[in-house]
């Protein structure tokens, strides 16, 4: 007797939906879909956080496009995302190569590189505030290496790089795990074959390992980009947007616009623009890196 899905009656289908899918989907809709749709609608109104008195068309968007602080925050965020994307993944891949060498003790090294990732951005930000402000200047003085002599958080330019440094320290361990998994899943026969063909270590890396683990790059780049775009707690606890709101990433900017200054409609408009930017960046990145992937 053939007993397949298509033979289910309509009643059975509805029953299955009610048992398995109704509650999860209802929660998903209420928590994610409804606020999202309402949020997009609010950007076309004069919403004040509670009430809408009239629909204003694209006025909010027009105003946001002329808002200088918003653009500098968005530009800063793009620079931060770009710098993090490159540095986190270069460092993570380097670490992955180091901790896959067959020696005792690499397990402890992996743990050390991974630990920062376990800990929340607020704690990490506060730790590094202490390091940049107190410990590193003292270290610079006693060791004679002047690089961290001044508090990096007091200057716009160095504060930006301070955020990038802490981000690399935080995220590289996580991406390292992804790269380690990919490196270990490469069939040893393939590498042996190339060794017999007389390739050296660098050639094996570039022509064999990198193409075979392209999928890991797709994922890691996507995750790094997503985290960097949405970064908030580290930004808040490390620089607080200072000096003079010049290190405010887009997330904090939106938060302040709405909850700090009470400009709910324009804050929401900025949030929607942020969503559009993230979507475009994510889709582009996935399409581009998929082209490097090979079927196995």
């Amino acid at each position: 007797m053939e007993f397949n899905v298509s033979m289910r009656s309509r009643r059975q289908e509805v029953q299955r939906f009610a048992v398995f899918a109704l509650i999860p989907l209802a929660i998903f809709a209420l928590v994610l879909v409804v606020p999202f749709v309402r949020g997009v609608y609010f950007t076309f109104t004069d919403w004040d956080g509670f009430d809408v008195t009239k629909v204003v068309g694209f006025d909010n968007y027009a105003a946001v496009f002329q808002d200088q602080p918003f653009w500098s925050s968005l530009t800063l965020t793009l620079a931060y995302v770009g710098a993090s994307l490159v540095l986190v993944n270069v460092v993570a891949f380097g670490l992955a190569l180091l901790v896959t060498i067959p020696l005792r003790g690499v397990g402890a090294l992996r743990t050390t590189f991974f630990i920062p990732n376990l800990i929340g951005g607020v704690i990490l930000g506060l730790i590094w505030q202490f390091l940049f402000g107190q410990a590193l200047p003292v270290l610079a003085e006693s060791s004679g290496i002047p690089i961290f002599q001044d508090n990096w958080l007091l200057d716009t330019n160095t504060a930006f790089w301070a955020m990038v440094i802490v981000t690399v320290w935080q995220m590289s361990g996580y991406m390292m795990i992804i790269y380690v998994t990919a490196l270990m899943s490469i069939e040893p026969e393939l590498l042996e074959a190339s060794l017999i063909d007389g390739t050296n270590a660098l050639q094996t890396l570039v022509y064999m390992k990198l193409p075979l683990m392209a999928q890991a790059f797709t994922i890691s780049l996507f995750l790094t980009m997503r985290n960097a775009f949405m970064g908030y707690d580290l930004n808040l606890a490390l620089t607080g947007g200072n000096p003079y709101r010049t290190t405010e990433l887009i997330s904090m900017h939106v938060f302040k616009e709405a909850f700090g200054f009470g400009n709910f409609a324009s804050g929401q408009t900025q949030a929607v623009i942020m969503f559009v930017v993230i979507s475009i960046a994510a889709i582009t990145q996935v399409i581009v890196s998929k082209r490097f992937e090979i079927e196995r």
Partner: protein, 276 residues
Amino acid sequence: MKRAKRINLFFFLVASVLAVVYALPFVMVLLNSVKDKRAVRNDPLGLPTEWQWSNFTEAIRKMDYWQALGNSLLVTIIAVVAIVATSSMLAYYLARSRTKFSAVTFLVLVASMVVPFQALMIPFVGLFGERGLNLPSNQFSLAFFYVGFGVALSTFLYHGFISNIPYSLDEAAAIDGASPFRTFRTIILPMLGPVTATVSIINSLWIWNDFLLPSVVLIDTDQKTLPLKTFVFYGKYTSDYGLAMAGLLLSMIPIVVFYFLMQRRIIAGISAGAVK
């Protein structure tokens, strides 16, 4: 062979130096958590000469440590259990149903993963706050929100796993007269162990450390989670870094202990969860 060994040793040394750099911030926290404020200011790098243990008792009091820890544990446990229950069932439904509705639903779930919380947080306050649905400001509401945000990725992970379970198992159970729910509970669910571990770990780490959502929805100080309470050391206590370091150390301990208990599963969970 000898040369290869030497090269390996060289790279091992490089890695060790890097590991010291990675660990240094934590070492600084440890060192300074037992110093008084003068010692921190004058000699942040040295070993403590006088051990000021009162930093810890003081930090516990300042951040209501035990209460905050309890709140964080409660919300993480409720949310993770609820996410596992809802998304495994939803994934089972979607994987076993060939309707257009289920295909579209799956696409919507996947697409929702790029929506940043920032695009929702402002409407959130109006929708769930006093003038909206008026949800109470507590751990249960917070867990409810986490289910809404966590269900997409978790369903996606379960879906991939369940799709590989042969349908003949469901058929056999159905012929024996088992209801769909019974089939799920007695046949499918017991097979989901590995992916349940992945889903639980990925969600626990994220929920435990989350700052933005609770800072938007938790108004009552008694309800605040550990990351929110840790933030009391921002600004106000920068004159007393010893106290702040003790507080930060206390905030880090639970998750680090969790990591060492679950190390293998966490690493496996991250590797498995990264398959997209």
